[in-house]
Subunit: 412 residues, 2 copies
């Protein structure tokens, strides 16, 4: 197994201004490529520190440096690698012409002389094209040890890795296949439970569990493939993984936001939607409009946060509010019926609950939530008790609503 | 100036499962303490890799290792440091009693024998108390070089750094004062513009600019202080910084979310609020309810996404919609008046705009937004053209609304 080291260069990382997300991205990519990451390092833009870092990890087969490829005198990564390899940096006239063209076309300010250092190439190296910025990357194969320079901004280096570095590593025989990845997003389930379901899943495939801050768990199944035969062989393994999820009654989606999947299906079915939100205060509707084209399906929503607004905007009866309370089966039912009458969308959803930290009682604890759904004329009420702090309860409510709608739309 | 190195240990970081946010947090903290961070490293839970990493940075005055203090056989950080220092790990009976008590009281499962390694102390070292988990940290002063072990979870190590490590470093004379930090949050302004305002601000204070994903820029003014005299001396500097912002007409707040500041003022004034949202689809209202106690001020909101819902829910006239279009001064005015009539809150806000990517024209481009405010009976309409992609336009709209409300509330 080949191994690798990453060196991220920059003051912003060393002073805690930004997280080193580049290294995280590259680490995950290396894992998917079947390459072992042995070292991750960060240093300031100081030439001796960069050279010393390269020396420290020079045993690695692949050494990736990110950042410090800009036009200023603080950008020293090229120079440091040149010093370490004891190879000259040579100005490339034809690359300079390309850079001038890029400036003229996209940046629309005159190019400065300082940009010239960006088109200096280490002897024997090759540029990696940058489709999204001015700094090209670099690829140097020195005695079968590969050194890579990548620009710092993720929107520049991520496409560069995918479109130019990966093919280059394949071409040079360092990587001998392609990465196949399938992602499942799982809702309302913990990472350890998922890992448990897969404990006997001893297939020839890399499996990773990623917990996200937005309330779902991702399973990444990835495998290095070299032929179309390999790809065929993966399909039953993916199917088996899907079956494990299905058998355990876990709801999962592909690698897209829930609200986007709902929107796509609604547009396809030519259906409309609206929400009556109490506990979530507009966040379910708000999530929906983050998707371009949401106006094709969302008619409107009502945030009935106070009892008065529930009566006024959704015709909930005062009697029900007094008798059952705002967080009750009866009230979400009246809310969703009121919404249907007022807005008249094909799908109507209501929600009421206690987000905390205050307002809970023994009978109605923090985390108690009622959901009302009207799919056409079919009315469904659901009840859940969601654990966690206020922000988590709100996120889980949003996901819960979209999961229920998706289940319904998928069953049609 | 003293210098430091950080080694974060763990498979999750090396496989790109999580960002190394611990090192970012510590990097920022070190900067505030006036200590230069020279190296950041990450390695797997392999004893030889950890020892080699410590050797690489052993020139540093302060060496901080995070992660790998758990009870499993993969947790090897303690052992690695013991090997590097050539000092024994010694089981601590009294710490074991404390850990058993913690398990019994908070974790409620029987303690395992494997937990014993967590209370092994390097000869001559001291424990750093963990108020939020089972793994104590460690502090070793060896010939005036300080080695620190911290547990991996941020909710455990951050309070440990603040409450135990920092005082310990002060007590041992490594740090000779306290950190004073003042944070300003700035809205609707770029990082480079802010830096420009402060280019002649040559005061004896550390100044940092942090761009956030949530649409604001933070300025951190921090200074190491040793006496109350020092603290007095800072006040005019802070005042000067505030004046620079005020003179440049930059709106800024303290280190709290805008919607939280609005909620606090509304509660103080005993005032209520409601929103009529088109372009933001519920996100302004949704932001508000993320704050505990929001029900004390928010009566309700209306998401009038379609023209029909604007007419039906907010009594916007069909004539205005036809004549001026949904994104117009006239329509936001009617929306906010309709909202006032329907919900009757003290403050009413309406918003309508074009979030894109489609739907823009030459006269009404993507990013055009109208805002309507009713503060009591006073009606104000504002117009903005916001640049950027859909998600950024929505975030900027949310901030814009809260900034305007805050300005109004602060002016009363």
């Amino acid at each position: 197994m080949k191994n690798a080291g990453i060196i991220s260069v920059g003051t912003e990382i060393m002073r805690g201004k930004i997280d080193d997300t580049n290294s995280t991205f590259i680490a995950r990519w290396l894992k998917d490529c079947g390459i072992k990451l042995k070292f991750r390092l960060s240093v300031e833009d100081e030439i001796n520190d960069i050279v010393s870092a390269i020396k420290y990890i020079e045993e690695c087969d692949l050494i990736i440096l990110t950042g410090g490829l800009g036009p200023t005198k603080d950008d020293l990564t090229r120079e440091a690698l040149s010093k370490f390899l004891n190879k000259k940096l040579v100005f490339q006239e034809n690359e300079w012409e390309k850079l001038k063209y890029f400036f003229n076309k996209y940046i629309k300010i005159p190019i400065a002389d300082s940009n010239k250092q960006q088109v200096e190439l280490i002897e024997g190296g090759e540029f990696l094209r940058n489709d999204n910025g001015t700094a090209p990357g670099m690829f140097c194969n020195v005695n079968n040890k590969i050194f890579i320079l990548l620009p710092g901004p993720p929107k520049e280096n991520q496409p560069m890795i995918k479109n130019y570095l990966f093919p280059k590593l394949k071409e040079s025989g360092f990587i001998t296949g392609d990465i196949y990845t399938r992602v499942f997003r799982l809702y309302n389930i913990g990472e350890s439970t998922v890992a448990d379901f897969f404990k006997d899943f001893n297939e020839e495939i890399e499996i990773g569990y990623y917990f996200t801050q937005t309330g779902w768990v991702e399973i990444h199944l990835s495998k290095f493939i070299t032929t179309s035969d390999d790809l065929d062989k993966i399909q039953p393994i993916i199917k088996k993984a899907e079956n494990i999820l299905t058998d355990n009654k876990v709801f999962f989606t592909e690698d897209k936001d829930l609200s986007q999947l709902v929107l796509e299906l609604l547009i396809k079915n030519n259906q409309t939607i609206s929400f009556a939100e109490s506990i979530t205060g507009g966040n379910i509707s708000g999530e929906f409009v983050k998707n371009p084209g949401s106006s094709k399906a969302l008619l409107g929503s009502i945030v009935s946060y106070s009892n008065e607004s529930k009566q006024k905007l959704l015709c909930v009866s005062e009697e029900s509010l007094l008798k059952f309370g705002a967080v009750s089966e009866e009230v979400v039912k009246e809310m969703v019926i009121g919404l249907k009458k007022t807005i008249g969308s094909d799908i109507c959803v209501s929600i009421s609950g206690i987000a905390g930290p205050d307002g809970g009682t023994e009978q109605k604890p923090v985390g108690l939530v009622y959901f009302g759904f009207m799919f056409g004329d079919k009315l469904i009420v659901k009840k859940e008790i969601i654990s966690g702090v206020r922000s988590r309860i709100i996120v889980r409510c949003i996901n819960y609503v979209y999961v229920e709608i998706l289940k319904w739309l998928n069953s049609k």
